[in-house]
Symmetry: C2
Subunit: 207 residues, 2 copies
């Protein structure tokens, strides 16, 4: 009976999906540990900061107090930073360290001092037992230029971070020491970018 054909296909599909679900459920049942993660978003593609801020949004939604420290990007007022500052001040602490990318300030000593101030704030936020998630936005740029000592940062994250606190570090060119220490690392790879076609940075997309 040809009328059975779609029915048969549905039955086969259901059977296949049932097996996938069973395998997935078995796999997920082995994942029982909870711990505070060291999360790194790096690579030349987009989404490193915006997915960090997406996680902040998740934490706020779940009632988890959180903190953001923005390194380097200081004078670039992004929409999400403004949003956190104006609408979520009670749920997420917000700090800015630095005054724009280093080619904007043209003053290395000032950049180093700003990065160091940012790191002191970061340590205090991470140590605070109230805070469950800390976003260190663009800290990889400060680490890359050695404005912060990578060994000190990694040592702090591994040995002084409270066990259940998540810390997310963003920015291009994450140092190998940080990647080695991290639990969850994502590289954002650029496949296509409209700058190449002469399109400028636009609201909502780039900032």
């Amino acid at each position: 009976m040809t009328d059975d054909a779609p029915h048969d296909e549905n039955a086969r599909h259901a059977e296949k999906m049932k097996k996938i679900k069973a395998a997935r459920d078995r796999m997920m049942a082995t994942k029982t540990e909870e711990k505070g993660l060291i999360i790194v978003h790096t690579g030349p593609g987009k989404g490193k900061s915006s997915s960090g801020f997406g996680m902040i949004l998740r934490c706020i939604a779940h009632g988890m107090p959180c903190a953001v420290v923005q390194f380097i990007k200081g004078n670039w007022i992004t929409g999400e930073a403004e949003m956190i500052r104006t609408r979520f001040a009670d749920e997420c602490r917000f700090f800015v360290s630095g005054e724009g990318f280093t080619w904007e300030t043209q003053d290395k000593q000032r950049d180093i001092a700003a990065a160091q101030r940012g790191w002191e704030i970061a340590k205090a936020q991470i140590r605070d037992p109230e805070i469950r998630f800390v976003l260190l936005d663009e800290i990889n740029i400060a680490l890359r230029y050695d404005y912060l000592d990578i060994d000190e940062v990694v040592d702090f994250l591994l040995h002084e971070k409270p066990a259940m606190t998540h810390v997310c570090l963003t920015g291009r060119n994450a140092k190998p020491e940080l990647i080695e220490a991290a639990d969850l690392v994502t590289e954002m790879t650029l496949i296509k970018h409209p700058f190449r076609e002469g399109v400028k940075a636009q609201k909502g997309v780039e900032f």
Copy 2:
């Protein structure tokens, strides 16, 4: 005079940064076009949906009305979805299409019908001249299983999307036709994931 050494280094740094800034300013001056972008977040790494929601946060901050259509992921209540629904209902429209990943429903015809309903909603939101940014979260999964016709979706984005509206499509395994049509494509690459070490999905990080 040895005391001049740090001063000299500062001067060299300032000179170098001045040149970088000038080159960057010249480059950015050539980027003058504004247009609504077709944005794709794909790849097996994290951050595809969360950076899409980060962009939504940016749009809300800039006063740009926006819309989210969630495909497939229906019964997985994420923090950011809950946040948009409860706190930003006036600024961002929110729609759910589907009832969970396909291995949860085990019913292909129901999944196809849900994907089609989601696409009808998506088209209406994209066509709406009030809406400046539309996030089609996890639509790539529906496209991958051919629950939606890739040619129809690409044709609509290229020829019926209003010129200034941004559309962001997320999910693994983006089809080549979509990547070809897109303006801005980022692949999230998995470098390290804590599931491998037995750590379960956690609030704020995974959902």
